[in-house]
């Protein structure tokens, strides 16, 4: 399996303030950071604070002389910085976690272009198609776990499936969806060039 690597050109573009590279960097890592942070922080505001602080520190380090000696490990570096920011956030908020605003409304997405909207509609259509091809039981399982957030063991017992069945169900859905997602959203570092 070949690993995709960020390279020196990408990091140079970031440091030089190349808009396309910066947009790609923010878009790519925002998704990964959200996935990482949502299981650790309960407030959207806290997630947003940690994300922004992570980006600020990463960019500050990159812009210093000899900022990152191994540009191909940019992803690992972002993760490390995020871990540190998160750690500091825990310490700073250990006594004031309740100040997090649980029900704060999600910030609206800014400046979605016609292309973005069309891509989002295509993805919605693909999801609908995949869901429609599932059996009613499989749709019921997904709904019970991800929408109703019911206990997995209870759901498995009720629908007569096991954990392996769930994982394979998700794996297949992802395989069906991935090509469309890649086409619409792009993804790798080369997408910025």
């Amino acid at each position: 399996m070949q690993f995709y690597a960020f390279d020196a050109g990408y990091v140079e573009g970031l440091c030089a303030g190349d808009l396309q590279t910066q947009e790609h960097f923010v878009g790519y890592f925002t998704e990964l950071l959200h996935l990482k942070l949502r299981s650790r922080l309960h407030s959207r505001q806290a997630i947003e604070d940690v994300r922004q602080e992570t980006f600020a520190r990463v960019l500050a380090t990159l812009r210093r002389e000899n900022g990152l000696r191994q540009p191909d490990r940019l992803g690992a570096f972002v993760n490390t910085v995020c871990n540190n920011v998160l750690f500091e956030h825990y310490r700073a908020n250990s006594r004031s976690e309740s100040l997090d605003e649980e029900d704060r409304p999600e910030l609206p997405a800014s400046g979605a272009s016609a292309h973005d909207i069309a891509a989002a509609n295509q993805l919605k259509g693909k999801v609908r198609e995949i869901l429609a091809e599932l059996s009613p039981r499989d749709r019921g399982v997904l709904k019970a776990i991800f929408l109703d957030e019911r206990d997995r063991d209870d759901v498995c017992r009720e629908f007569g499936v096991d954990g392996e069945y769930l994982r394979v169900l998700l794996f297949r859905a992802r395989q069906n969806f991935k090509a469309e997602y890649l086409k619409r959203m792009g993804g790798g570092p080369d997408a910025a060039r």
Binding site: S39, T61, K124, V127, L131, R174
Partner: protein, 256 residues
């Protein structure tokens, strides 16, 4: 060449309270573990979760997998209520107007006007089955058959594809090399068709002849072209079951 920890010390030095970094999960391990699915299902231990995160921030392939699956689930959450509601009873509406429904007469066919031709047709069908269909099937089942075959080595590569040639009439045979070191006393097989439906499962004893080969014949009837998934689990003498192989079988018919 600086070591990774030294590299990240550049960033770590900026922050107070630097933490010990978790070692990233290996890509093969992530695939084997179905880490993407387990991560989104919340099934990983805290250590595994950190190791997988350290991995997918570096691995484009796994990052794409997890982004795609998360995007799918996010949209599925929006659409699932409508798709699962249609079958459920709708509440909160005004009482439905009682309509005159036509009662189905289950025993109508037994009235004399229908009974005679119905029984006559039944006799013709039974006669044809006894005289032609059943003897034909019996001789076909008893006759030797030649089927295309493919070999499959367990433990080659997770998620590997194996091209399988099949005959529309006689199907295909798979010769499966299973581990024969005595760890497992039997093996569980499960086959899923290209739609993801499990079509067959069976548990067989480990081969006693020492060569560790099991043959699996898949009949042509019902077989279709596409990617089947064959899952093999090893079962220990204590009864614990471990998945040891998951192979995608690209079934293609030999057009003659």
């Amino acid at each position: 060449m600086p070591r990774d920890s030294e590299t990240f010390q550049q960033g770590g030095a900026l922050f107070s309270g630097a933490r010990r970094e978790t070692e990233a999960m290996d890509h093969g391990e992530a695939v084997e573990l179905m880490a993407t699915e387990r991560y989104l299902l919340g099934e990983l231990s805290p250590e595994q979760r950190e190791a997988f995160e350290a991995h997918f921030f570096e691995c484009y392939e796994c990052a794409l997998d997890i982004r795609a699956e998360a995007a799918f689930l996010k949209e599925a959450k929006v659409q699932l209520p409508q798709m699962t509601q249609s079958a459920a009873p709708v509440e909160g509406r005004s009482a439905p107007v009682k309509t005159q429904t036509k009662r189905r007469d289950w025993f109508g066919w037994m009235r004399p006007v229908w009974a005679v031709p119905a029984f006559a047709a039944l006799l013709v069908v039974i006669g044809y089955q006894n005289l032609a269909t059943i003897p034909g099937l019996r001789s076909a089942a008893d006759a030797p058959r030649v089927t295309p075959w493919s070999t499959l080595h367990v433990g080659t590569r997770a998620g590997a594809h194996t091209a399988v040639t099949a005959d529309r009439k006689n199907g295909t045979t798979l010769l499966i090399d299973v581990p024969n070191d005595g760890t497992y006393t039997s093996f569980g097989f499960a086959l899923e068709n290209p739609e993801g439906k499990q079509t067959w499962m069976e548990t067989v004893k480990a081969p006693a002849n020492g060569d560790g080969t099991i043959s699996l014949s898949i009949p042509g009837r019902g077989l279709q072209e596409g990617a089947y998934t064959l899952t093999i689990a090893g079962i220990t003498p204590q009864g614990s079951r471990t998945e040891i192989e998951r192979q995608l079988l690209d079934v293609r018919f030999n057009e003659q």
